[in-house]
């Protein structure tokens, strides 16, 4: 039995230990694991309220059935999974205390934390865990997270504080799958209450540091301190209110006039107005997000790999990044910046990363387009960075005689096309849970196991993704994903351009706020206010 146990209260050592490894993301150099094991801030005091400005608002709060990132951002305050997605790519114990996989990798035993109470007052047991994940993995319940649990065959609850996940195929990424993106542990039987999904807009039933106080759509979302929270002494804040703001100018004004204490900016350059604002601090954090150009491998000229390679060779990622987010980010190859050191292949070892117009032109000629062609490039309304990026890329592709027509789409329409695998040639903006399997599998594994949104249908890549998911040994896993990334860069179903940094600005009265690379608000559990 391979034992990946995390003994109680040694998570700090683990996190510190991971610092010594060469392959650790940038975030860890600045801050150690903000939620689970970071040191208690000196001088922290209990109490106080903060107001947070947000450009997005969750459409609804059900963590099981709403995929929107705006929902996940705040859900992590109320709901928790068995593990926490440490940015180094390690799943840290959250409601679980330890994880152990059987020798064949097809059975995982999790010991649960004791003394965890739901917001409803009930005590969490293994039956609740089984109930919650059984609900999520049953596709008939409509959870977007069901697909991630497709390897789970059954869940047992042999003891009050032990759950066993039995798998149909080994899945080394299981702990990272049981983190906080979709689903959570909720009291057993909760979904039998009528309208359980929309009921979650009125009450929270999770185990997180904050409870839902009030949700007023199109206006505010308020949380209050959970007095029974299982991490002793946390959280510090009594109340957190999110206010939906129309644009970043309003957030800048709100911070300057002391109406809001914290805001996260989607376009990093918008924080420039705050550089010299008294009483306001701006922080820059590495992110797990990526800005890409996706290429539907069945769409018109893109069905020819040489055309896709030519496009990759004509795009200068750095220029696109400078134009669209004023350089506040990191150019990437085939891995998001936050995970590059742990899992990425260095850019100079990947094909099709350097601009080479001569090669691009000869590839186009070989593909039967010596004088180029016209193509539509899709941007999404509300994603401002795409507008500047589109103009820049149109300019760059013109140099190899590809004429780009920019098409702007409503997000709902874009999602429909994406899910129907009719994306064409489009920008995309997405984040990941920090594990390579969760990053790649659904997007690039051929159907039916994966969704293969880009119609890539690549057998070699799929075989590697299967092996990567099944392999537990970190070094072997890393080698598998390195091979996968080389194929990805060679065949260009996507061009991962850059990860944009997360920029937060806060009033100085708010202390110790740490921003997680996903953009989710884990850090509020340990933030506090002065006075």
């Amino acid at each position: 039995m391979r034992n990946l146990t995390f003994p109680r209260r040694t998570a700090l050592h683990l996190a510190l230990g991971s610092l010594a490894l060469p392959g650790v993301a940038r975030a860890q150099q600045a801050q150690i694991d903000p939620l689970i094991s970071g040191p208690t801030p000196p001088g922290a005091c209990r109490g106080g309220r903060v107001t947070i400005g947000s450009l997005v608002e969750p459409p609804a709060l059900d963590p099981f059935r709403q995929a929107a990132d705006a929902r996940i951002r705040v859900s992590v305050l109320m709901y928790q999974g068995l593990f926490y997605e440490d940015q180094s790519g390690v799943a840290r114990p959250l409601l679980a205390e330890s994880a152990a996989a059987s020798a064949d990798g097809k059975s995982w035993t999790f010991r649960l934390r004791r003394g965890v109470k739901f917001h409803t007052g009930q005590t969490m047991t293994s039956a609740d865990v089984k109930y919650s994940y059984d609900f999520m993995r049953n596709a008939a319940n409509g959870s977007p997270g069901a697909g991630d649990l497709s390897s789970v065959a059954s869940i047992d609850a042999p003891e009050e504080h032990t759950v066993v996940f039995n798998l149909s195929r080994p899945n080394a990424a299981l702990p990272m799958t049981l983190t906080n993106k979709y689903g959570a542990v909720v009291p057993r039987g909760f979904f039998e209450t009528p309208n359980s999904g929309t009921r979650m807009n009125e009450i929270s039933v999770g185990t997180g540091p904050f409870k839902l106080k009030q949700f007023r759509p199109n206006s505010t979302l308020t949380f209050e301190r959970n007095p029974d929270y299982w991490q002793p002494g946390l959280p510090y804040l009594d109340e957190v209110t999110f206010v939906t703001m129309p644009n970043s100018a309003a957030m800048v004004v709100g911070l300057q006039s002391r109406r809001i204490d914290l805001a996260m900016f989607s376009r990093p350059q918008d924080t420039q107005a705050l550089a010299n604002a008294p009483g306001v601090q701006v922080h820059r954090w590495p992110s797990l997000n990526q800005k890409t150009v996706d290429l539907d491998c069945k769409y018109q000229q893109l069905s020819d790999m040489r055309v896709r390679q030519a496009i990759a060779l004509a795009i200068d990622k750095k220029t696109v990044m400078d134009a669209s987010i004023s350089g506040y980010g990191t150019v990437i190859g085939t891995m998001v910046a936050g995970m590059q050191e742990a899992w990425g292949v260095p850019i100079d070892q990947l094909p099709n990363q350097r601009v080479d117009l001569d090669r691009a032109r000869s590839l186009l000629a070989a593909a039967g387009h010596p004088s180029g062609f016209d193509i539509d490039l899709t941007t999404i309304i509300g994603y401002d960075w795409m507008d500047a990026a589109a103009v820049t890329i149109a300019e760059q592709l013109r140099r190899i005689n590809i004429q780009v027509n920019i098409r702007k789409l409503d997000l709902g329409v874009w999602i429909r096309n994406f899910r129907a695998r009719e994306m064409g040639f489009t920008f995309n903006d997405w984040g990941t849970t920090p594990d390579p399997s969760l990053l790649y599998y659904r997007h690039f594994r051929a159907a039916p196991e994966g969704a293969d949104f880009r119609n890539w249908n690549n057998a070699r890549a799929s075989a590697l993704l299967d092996r990567g998911q099944e392999t537990a040994d970190p070094a072997a896993r890393k080698a598998i994903y390195a091979e996968f990334q080389k194929i990805l860069a060679e065949e260009v179903p996507t061009i991962m351009m850059f990860s944009s940094d997360l920029l937060t600005a806060n009033r100085t009265r708010l202390k110790n706020y740490v921003q997680h690379g996903t953009g989710w608000y884990f850090g509020l559990a340990k933030a506090w206010v002065e006075g």
Partner: protein, 314 residues
């Protein structure tokens, strides 16, 4: 009178039904639905999709969905929001109160400023005062509302180190906060409407003051005050009321922008977010409500004519 009202109400009911059908079909013609939004960029799990489609009744024929909605609507049941779970009627009503407060305050301010400006400009036609007022009208009519709103927001912050609280409070919850929230949005909307008023009233006054009865009045030795305010202004009232109705409808339309700009949870924002989220019951219920409101305002304007001018009584 009863026949007139009956005919108008009948026409209103037909208008409501036809516009509801149009909204119903248009929303479904827009690509993408709530299921795509709930499942997002994750795998297209057919089973999950079908389960959700059945849950929302989207697997049934269109006519059956529409018939069920109409059946509920005539009994006052507009259904529940797919995201919020709250009754649509309650959500629409709450949002309407916000919009109504914004619209009424804007209309009041625009009328109080715009009508006197128009009267003065009309009387003082061609003078420096007239030109100053016309300049204001030109600026007011040509400045886009979103730009004006943003400039006011940034300007007050820079000049006064003040900004409105962005979290909504109703007048019954916290009146002071409520006023603080509404000052800038009302100002941004009212400038445009006051300019429109002023321009309109100026034209009416000039036309009225050129008429024979004014000359006759002047010859009779009436004072300017009697001439302008008793006679000319009285005749300007009818078109003014029509215009007020138009302005009110226009404000109700313009609030979409201003509600978004100042984070006000009003009707415009409710409809916009429901369209983006493909929350069909909310879109249908809210737009039906808007149709009813617009029809009522038009009817009220027609009835007001009769009050102001007996010759126009139906």
């Amino acid at each position: 009178m009863a026949g007139f009202l009956g005919r108008r109400l009948g026409a209103a009911a037909i208008a409501a039904l036809l516009s509801s059908l149009a909204v119903f079909l248009l929303m479904r013609a827009v690509p993408g639905d709530i299921i795509g939004q709930m499942l997002g960029q994750t795998g297209s799990d057919r089973a999950a999709e079908q389960a959700l489609r059945a849950f929302f009744g989207l697997d049934r024929p269109l006519w059956a969905q529409f018939a069920e909605w109409v059946g509920g609507a005539v009994q006052g049941d507009l259904g529940r929001s797919w995201y919020q779970g709250r009754p649509v009627s309650a959500m629409v009503w709450d949002a309407f109160l916000v919009t109504l407060q914004l619209a009424v305050l804007t209309l009041a301010l625009a009328t109080l400023v715009g009508v006197p400006l128009g009267v003065v400009a009309g009387i003082a036609q061609g003078t420096r005062i007239d030109r100053a007022i016309q300049t204001f009208n030109l600026i007011g009519l040509s400045a886009p509302v979103f730009w004006l709103g943003l400039m006011l927001l940034v300007g007050t912050s820079a000049a006064l180190d003040w900004s409105p609280p962005f979290a909504w409070s109703g007048p019954h919850e916290d009146l002071e906060e409520n006023i603080a929230i509404l000052v800038l949005p009302v100002l941004s909307l009212a400038v445009l409407q006051a300019a429109a008023y002023s321009q309109f009233v100026r034209g009416l006054m000039i036309e009225e003051l050129g008429k024979d009865y004014i000359r006759a009045g002047r010859a009779k030795g009436l004072t300017p005050r009697e001439l302008y305010f008793k006679h000319a202004l009285a005749n300007v009232m009818i078109p003014l009321v029509t215009f007020m109705g138009l302005i009110l409808v226009q404000i109700l339309g313009g609030v979409v922008v201003i509600e978004s700009l100042f984070s006000l949870p009003g009707l415009g924002r409710l409809i916009l977010s429901a369209i983006q989220g493909r929350d069909y019951p909310v879109v249908q219920g809210a737009l039906l409500f808007v149709v009813i409101i617009a029809t009522t305002i038009n009817l009220a304007v027609d009835l007001l004519y009769g009050l102001l001018d007996p010759r126009l009584r139906p």
